[in-house]
Amino acid sequence: MGIVKGDQMVLNIGPQHPSTHGVLRLKVVTDGEIVSDIEPIIGYLHRCFEKHCENSTYEQVIPFTDRCDYIASMNNNFGYVVAMEKLMEIKVPDRVEYIRIIMAELNRIASHLLALGVYGLDVGAFTPFLYMFRDRERILDIFELTCGARLLYNYMWVGGVSHDLPVGFVETVYGFLDYFEPKLKEYNEILTYNKIFIERTADVGVLPPEVAISYGVSGPNLRGSGVKWDLRKDEPYSIYERFDFDVPVGEGTVGTTGDCWDRFYVRMLEMTESAKILRQALKDLPQDGDVHQAIPKKIRPPKGSIYQRTESPRGDLAYYIISDGTPQPYRLKMRSPAFTALSVLNEISRGWMLSDVIAILGSLDIVLGEIDR
């Protein structure tokens, strides 16, 4: 932290605070109202995920991965099973691939809805939070229809998925998409182009692209700074190359490129792109195929290691798995995107006022479960 000068004040934004990102502690050194240094202190949610993985079998790891990034748990599962299938060289049937993509994109929309709604709450707008949660509940209904759980699914297994799609699933999702796409216009009217929101977020917390790459920032945070990098397009995994969608980047529409408004708007546009992917996937979904067909009876991968990256709603989620031939992983490391996003907070908040720090923190969209694991 260094030596605090005489006229500076050390303020503690404690682990419990009304901003809903989780248990994060910020030690802020301020000069009056202007921030000169921030030190994020994490570890209040360290739940020993990696130690549990070393003592459980490969199948038992999947519910633990759910609970790391609890807002987008389908994407966490997806990253893990893609890594395991590459390590064990299993080929899954087409129907399973399409089902996985549908679930992952639905969860991406749900995660962005929560991130944006809670961001509005941080900045002071209560109504968008209620609207976005109303729409998020409809997605959670779809998940409950499929696998019985609302938040933590344990849905994607190595080699397949746990439950096949129920009767009426395709119609339900089409109904949701028809209801949802006009809502994005409504959200733009209440929040995105709202003058007060623009005053609070435009030009605030600018993240230059070189700093972002050096800090390992990825996902919507990196795209908000103008770098067109999306793992679904640049290093495709699963069957993402069959789909046609754009990658929105921040262009500094109402302020500087890379400010909080850009990161917010990129997430808003990504929801439209996910809806596009969903429509294409539902149209091409193969009707027959057994989702349990390729699931191995016993998971015993060959000796070796693998590092596999996938695109979660927060950025570049990667698993580094070392296997020694036994049914339990020897070492499993999860590289979480929110860890890197939080580390850049110090760099981009210097010189801003205390309430701007809350706006910047909200725009980075962190989840403490993923950071602390």
Binding site: P15, F133, R136, L151
Partner: protein, 163 residues
């Protein structure tokens, strides 16, 4: 008002003081939002538009001084346990604690090898209602809150407690 319906006529209210106080204290508990992990998302969903917590009289307050109930939602780690205790002590009497989710009840899925996980928040604060689930559905949390209301209703704050 279930206790008093259809019992009286003509503007006369007769009730035992305990029941009156219990009705007043139990029907509007303000909760201290102590969301730690995944259960916090379900707590937010309970307070949002579909399962509305405000119709049972609960509002989220961020300061411990203004709250009656502390809902510990999520895994409590050892690093956080000392802060939980401190915040509980800052709340004003009468105060109650609801332990939401299996992590707060007994350590949850992390009980076996979690060296940094507190195996149940009742090791540091006294708990009144336990709500099981991982995470519990919003309806389950509402049932837990209604049970807490029943518990508060049945308290007798005026009698001297024999030690």
């Amino acid at each position: 008002m279930g206790v008093f319906e259809n019992k009286f006529q003509d503007n006369v209210v007769v009730a035992s003081l305990d029941k009156l106080l219990g009705w007043a204290r139990s029907t509007s508990p303000w909760f201290f939002q102590f969301g730690l992990a995944c259960c916090a998302i379900e707590m937010m969903a309970t307070a949002a538009s579909r399962h509305d917590l405000m119709r049972i009289g609960m509002i989220p307050r961020s300061s411990p001084r203004q709250a009656d109930v502390m809902i510990v939602a999520g895994t409590v780690t050892l690093k956080m346990a000392l802060r939980v205790k401190k915040l509980y002590e800052q709340m004003a009497n009468p105060k109650y604690v609801i332990s939401m989710g299996s992590c707060a009840t007994s350590g949850g899925p992390y009980w076996q090898h979690g060296y940094h996980v507190l195996k149940g928040v009742d090791l540091v604060v006294p708990v009144d209602v336990y709500v099981p689930g991982c995470p519990p559905r919003p309806e389950a949390l509402i049932e837990g809150l209604l049970k807490l209301q029943e518990k508060i209703q049945s308290e007798r704050p005026l009698t001297r407690k024999t030690a």
